[in-house]
């Protein structure tokens, strides 16, 4: 067994993962914070105002990364859920279940910032545009996964059931998106046009990319933190948790 494979298998063990996550977590937080500060400064101060939308466009630096993350996290969750249902490693269950609330939060942020952005640019907070509707359905699927996870008395059983739901949702999500697009074109013409993706100036692009990576690292850091807490709770009867509790006296 080579070193990478050994390391991968070690990561599947909760005590090893707990230590590993605790080690990389401060780095992830630091990188996320630095990127976010740089991206926000570049986006809110350095980037020029848009010639059409004025300063209103600046919400893009929060909205677009959040929208991308909402799908990215669903992808990560679906892959971990797939692994959790097929091979049943505990860590895959934990990662899938702890991804869900972060993904739901990003989806909510994308929806709220999108509707705030819609008011000055489209003249309305909400419109039944295909992307908005799909994003809303995505939020509902996230909430369903979280709700199912917490409905079970046994967390492992809940994690497996919710993982299965996440897989079903992953199959359904593209169908929902394309049916909503079809529905939208059937009912009304496209009233909402996003400005072209090609015409973004470099001075606006780099803060956007910085914010995107900040969101990715934030997700990583948050996932590590949530997984550690979840592991302590799930494994509370085990010796390694007792060792940690003995070593780290309560802080108050």
């Amino acid at each position: 067994m080579n070193a990478i494979k050994l390391w991968y298998h070690k990561l599947g063990s909760p005590p090893y993962f707990y230590v590993f996550a605790g080690y990389i977590q401060p780095w992830l937080w630091t990188i996320a914070a630095m990127l976010a500060v740089a991206g926000l400064y570049g986006g809110l101060v350095l980037a020029p105002a848009d010639y059409q939308q004025g300063d209103a466009f600046r919400i893009i630096f929060v909205h677009v990364p959040a929208a991308w993350m909402s799908l990215f996290i669903y992808g990560v969750m679906a892959v971990s859920a797939f692994i959790a249902v097929i091979w049943r490693p505990k860590m895959a269950e934990v990662l899938a279940m702890e991804s869900a609330p972060i993904g739901a939060a990003f989806t909510l942020i994308a929806l709220v910032t999108g509707s705030l952005w819609g008011r000055p640019t489209w003249g309305t907070y909400w419109t039944w545009d295909a992307r908005l509707t799909s994003e809303l359905v995505l939020l509902f699927i996230y909430l369903g996964v979280i709700g199912l996870y917490h409905a079970f008395e046994d967390p492992r059983q809940g994690a497996r059931a919710a993982s299965f739901l996440a897989m079903v949702g992953a199959v359904n999500l593209p169908i929902v998106h394309y049916s909503v697009v079809w529905w939208n074109t059937l009912h009304q013409g496209t009233t909402v046009r996003y400005f072209g993706p090609s015409s973004i100036a470099p001075s606006m692009l780099w803060p956007l990319l910085a914010m995107t990576f900040a969101a990715k690292f934030y997700y990583g850091a948050s996932l590590m933190q949530r997984s550690r807490v979840s592991l302590l709770s799930l494994e509370r009867g085990k010796d390694w948790v007792a060792d940690i509790v003995r070593r780290e006296p309560t802080h108050g």
């Binding site: 359905v137 409905a151 059931a161 299965f164 169908i175």
Partner: protein
């Protein structure tokens, strides 16, 4: 295996027949909900006629949602569900028989009453058979997807609202295509495409849903 399928179907239908009053409840519920719309929106004929297809579809969806909880509940409470899981026949097959029985008992009466509801709301002419066709394809789809999700919640206590939270997002495409077909027929537009989509989805779900449901039941019962 065919014998097991038939025995399972026969048992479920017999049980439903012995308590045939229960099968009427979803129908009554659908009638009540559909009746509330004119009260809420006013009796204006053109408005009601325009939304009639959608209202009937959503009503049928809600009434199926309310009755879905019962698909595995009885078997879980008397322990028969464990026997089904342990049976030598494939669980997916037995579950498929259960889904078929559920559709026959719950959805068929709803489909029977749906044209009446639609007519009361002002849906007339060529859109009526399209509504019937859309319901004939959409209700088995809902029954199949709904049974998978119900199987997942079998091990939980408070499953009613949770089931709604899980099913409704997944039901969005079904509602869109079924209501889209009815709406297109009302406007005199071609309606075959959405119906064909529904039929395609149903063909896929008939194969996959029993397998998924069997997996979900195993997950929910494994403790």
């Amino acid at each position: 295996m065919a014998a097991a399928f038939r025995a399972m179907l026969q048992r479920d239908l017999l049980l439903a027949w012995r308590r045939r009053g229960d099968a009427l409840l979803p129908v009554l519920y659908a009638v009540m909900v559909a009746t509330l719309f004119p009260f809420a929106l006013g009796p204006e004929h053109t408005l009601l006629a325009r939304i009639s297809g959608g209202v009937v579809l959503v009503t049928v969806l809600l009434s199926m949602l309310l009755s879905l909880d019962a698909v595995f509940r009885g078997d879980l409470e008397d322990g028969a569900l464990e026997y089904l899981v342990l049976a030598p026949q494939p669980l997916a097959l037995l579950v498929a028989a259960r889904m078929l029985a559920y559709w026959l008992v719950t959805a068929l009466p709803l489909i029977a009453v749906a044209p009446l509801l639609a007519y009361m709301l002002g849906l007339e002419g060529p859109a009526q058979p399209v509504l019937l066709l859309a319901l004939l394809l959409a209700t088995p789809l809902l029954a199949l997807i709904g049974s998978v999700l119900t199987a997942l919640t079998v091990g939980t206590r408070r499953s009613g609202m949770l089931l709604a939270l899980m099913l409704l997002p997944l039901a969005v495409p079904i509602v869109i295509f079924a209501a889209g077909a009815v709406g297109a027929a009302q406007q005199g537009l071609p309606w075959v495409a959405p119906v064909a989509w529904l039929a395609a989805a149903l063909a896929l779900a008939v194969v996959l849903a029993p397998l998924a449901c069997a997996t979900a039941l195993r997950i929910a019962l494994d403790s």
